[in-house]
Subunit: 329 residues, 2 copies
């Protein structure tokens, strides 16, 4: 029987506020380039006041992945918490208009819809400053068996570990997916995020996760190694599938069958936001359609190359057509 969704994505529902700044701006405001830092409402307001004119665009790591999978033509759902406000309306519109099922009830009390101020430097790196807002209102009650127990793959972003209620929601969803015999997938999200939750992530990776997504910094942070190769050595015995991204070096897929290295697709980089999210989209679309791991990695690379070629972390072209053009399939 076909599952309700090929992939169910779960994450922080965020509207990005994107502006170009110089390196001095990061320094003045104590930002660490290319990281995601959580900010409280007050810090968020102060940073916004200092920020140049911006544009707003729906984001959120797993939300970007969901939009990507839909653009490939996959059936995909999303779980995440918005507030019943204007930016929540924007988030809901954009993800639904992308073709993603999104039924999580908006919070009517508490903080506003989350925003992430994304500072783009001339080197195309993005530095994210996220006010979690309504995301923290996610509770296990938002996890429905009809969704979490009925997707070929449940995909979760590591950022959800940042509050106990969000984490409890993930663990409930994991249990439902595992009980239904489906696959669970985790993105490590960010090396600082890995530093915050290393022991839990190691335990998850070694005991629950079927498909792990991480970039080079994140996998090194997980195993506290100096080199990528050492991290892979530590990871190898424990993992079903790990899709490890290395920016312009492409990706390395580690599985019980060995390792596959796939080169990056060429791109004129404008804004690296969403590269990992869209890699996961292509990979999971391929995986849930029975493609080889090499093809999965290629589909991930194609989607990542598209999203870094423009401002914002959601695809701007139909990824199914783009993949057909690039791969002839």
């Amino acid at each position: 029987m076909t599952s309700k969704h090929q992939v169910l994505c779960m994450g922080n529902a965020i509207v990005d506020i994107i502006a170009r700044v110089d390196d001095q701006f990061l320094e003045t405001h104590g930002r660490v380039k290319a990281s995601m830092m959580l900010v409280d409402a007050e810090t968020s307001a102060a940073l916004y006041a200092a920020m140049p004119p911006a544009i707003e665009r729906s984001g959120g790591s797993a939300g970007n992945t969901a939009a990507g999978i839909a653009s490939f033509g996959g059936t995909v759902g999303y779980i995440g918490k918005i507030h019943d406000d204007q930016l929540g309306t924007v988030f809901r519109h954009d993800i639904q208009a992308a073709g993603v099922s999104f039924d999580t009830v908006a919070a009517s009390e508490g903080a506003p819809t989350a925003t992430s101020m994304i500072l783009l430097t001339p080197d195309s790196q993005r530095t994210m400053n996220t006010f979690l807002g309504a995301c923290v209102e996610l509770t296990p009650d938002d996890i429905l068996a009809e969704d979490a127990g009925d997707a070929d793959v449940l995909y979760v972003e590591g950022y959800l570990w940042d509050t106990p209620s969000m984490k409890a929601s993930v663990l409930k969803a994991f249990d439902m997916a595992i009980a239904a015999g489906n696959k669970v997938s985790l993105s490590l999200s960010d090396s600082f995020c890995v530093d915050r939750f290393r022991d839990e992530f190691v335990d998850l990776v070694e005991n629950k996760v079927d498909i792990l997504f991480a970039n080079e910094d994140e996998i090194k942070a997980l195993y506290q190694t100096d080199t990528f190769e050492e991290a892979v050595d530590k990871l190898r015995p424990h993992v079903q599938i790990a899709a490890l991204t290395r920016s312009e070096k492409g990706s390395v897929i580690v599985s019980k069958d060995g390792e596959i290295t796939v080169g990056a697709f060429p791109a004129t980089v404008d804004d690296t936001t969403g590269a990992g999210d869209l890699f996961a989209a292509g990979f999971l679309y391929g995986y849930t359609n029975g493609r080889s791991l090499e093809d999965c990695a290629k589909l991930g690379g194609i989607a990542a190359a598209e999203v870094i070629s423009h401002l914002g972390a959601r695809p701007e072209v139909n990824l199914q057509s783009l993949a057909a053009e690039k791969l002839g399939s």
Copy 2:
């Protein structure tokens, strides 16, 4: 003595919601290409539900002009009504971060901050669907003598005629500017807008306005002529300065001293939104800095060429630097 502002811009404070669609979408939803149509809250919600994923960016005709003047280095203020909500915060942030004084008190009751759904077709034309929202809360109480009576030029968009309270606010500002011996400037905004208020606009142009901005369609609509030349013949006896824009044909500046034609600056057109607004920005910056009418038109053309080369109606580069590069001054 120096005025508080070289230019004070007054208009509908709007956040644009921008998406790319095909011509069929316009047809299905009964939109008239390249026009601005007002929509009520219900129509706005229905159209939004049908619209593809979008990005949000501050807009509003006179707001775009104000941001442009600031980018040239001019001193500029803005009057327009937002609601005290998230999109109002976005609008206020963006215009202030651009360097524009904006002190109009946000409405705490009534409709939300105005949005305009901008549908971009593959021919780079924009079709705008505006829900006026909080804009209709603008009243003459928002017009302060310290602003409206202390700007070298008061610049107003024709769209403000759409409600009696907005219009009364403009007329109060006009009176203050004229009483102070300053210049008043009007943009005709849109040919449908001209159709709605032709008699009032003709009266204003002939009796109050010092600097008129219009594109070819608008000036033909004002005088109900078939050709641009006939419209100019009817306009000529009544006008101090009229800056008439003709897209790729450039602009024609009509004044008591005769007519000047200035060619368009080359541009790779992506999104025509804001072309007229930014032309006005460059022209008024030049005018309030004592430049020749020909230079004013060139500065307008440079700003218009920049804004149509990307998505959104606010400049993305420093226009002062761009003008220096293009004109050597």
